[in-house]
Symmetry: C2
Subunit: 213 residues, 2 copies
């Protein structure tokens, strides 16, 4: 059972003039005249982390007048899911960034805590009805990894047999011959998400729904 982590940045930009309050910050930036909201979100993520092709979704727009004491700022928040494999490879040398467990988050400035909470709730709803979980895993993953992921998101334990029964009955996973041998002597089979199968089933009225235990 692992936990979700939030990537925090320290003073990457300063929309606020009150420096004492600035304890931690998300990725942030200002939109340009010639780019869409989505493009701006991708640009900022890519510019500050080097990450590309990640699952990213608009979350919510925050518009209280006093949310940033330094200036009137309206922020449209996006949440990105980063593949576990990409994290260390790409983010090691980013200055001032550090991962923080969601359950032991420091005090965040402004309304950033609300942003995190809302994004997490959205994720928990999304993941029940859409296979977004696979965005967080490497191409090849074991069922144990997949279950660990779901346990982290739901913040509770799931029965192994029921979880496997349900996910496998959907026929959207492809079992590989290869085994992951790092974490156990026996080894666990790799699977991969078969997007074509998923899309085909969906056209036939199939609904992804992973609500286990």
């Amino acid at each position: 059972m692992y936990h979700f982590q939030l990537l925090l940045f320290r003073e990457v930009i300063k929309p606020s003039q009150n420096h004492l309050l600035l304890k931690s910050l998300f990725l942030g930036g200002f939109i340009k005249e010639d780019e869409s909201l989505d493009e701006a979100a991708y640009r900022i993520l890519h510019h500050l982390t080097g990450l590309k092709d990640v699952y990213m979704k608009q979350s919510y727009s925050y518009g209280k007048t006093d949310r940033d004491p330094g200036a009137r700022v309206i922020s449209t928040a996006y949440s990105a899911l980063i593949k576990i494999q990409d994290i260390d490879r790409e983010l090691k040398e980013i200055n001032g960034a550090h991962w923080q467990s969601l359950s032991r988050l420091p005090r965040l400035i402004f309304d950033h805590r609300e942003m995190v909470d809302r994004a997490l709730v959205e994720l928990q709803m999304q993941i029940k009805i859409k296979p977004v979980g696979f965005e967080l895993l490497p191409e090849k993953f074991t069922l144990v990894q997949l279950q660990d992921l779901y346990e982290a998101i739901y913040q509770r334990e799931i029965d192994k047999r029921n979880f496997r029964k349900k996910i496998l009955s959907m026929n959207i996973l492809e079992k590989l011959e290869e085994k992951e041998k790092e974490t156990s002597k026996k080894g666990a089979f790799y699977y991969k998400f078969n997007k074509e199968h998923y899309e085909k089933h969906k056209r036939n009225g199939f609904f992804f729904n992973l609500d286990v235990n």
Copy 2:
């Protein structure tokens, strides 16, 4: 079985310079320096319709650069649910406004069709897990009215017995002595939504979930 209607306004404001494209428009306006997004949404709704205290929810922010050919505009859409009883009383004399069935919508300008579609999908998800349906009904309503509402939102028929069984078992409705006698000789008992019961149950881990048939 009735249908959802969208209230359309004609040229209330003109963010576009291309008048030929302007066929219909939602309520819209610009945010002021000293108000939040929520406040602006309420102000605009109230100013243009006279309606107050309606259920209103942020939907999504639209930010494509070319979405309005006349100017760079980022729009945060809100959707409001208006009580059936309030509609005629307050909206009769609004100039240029007319109701249009959602299933026979005219061509809308810009990305407004996407806005409607997204808002409807959000509503359909919301109404399954939150008792927002009551926002659309008068204080006192019959179970038939409530069911009609759900059938309109889901766009399908629901079994009467199963619907009543489910909604009544939640213990969030209060049966009144009074009957509605307009639509039938026998008359149908009025109910009202008991918000306190709902909040109390929710604290005890109860989840509203109305997914019938």
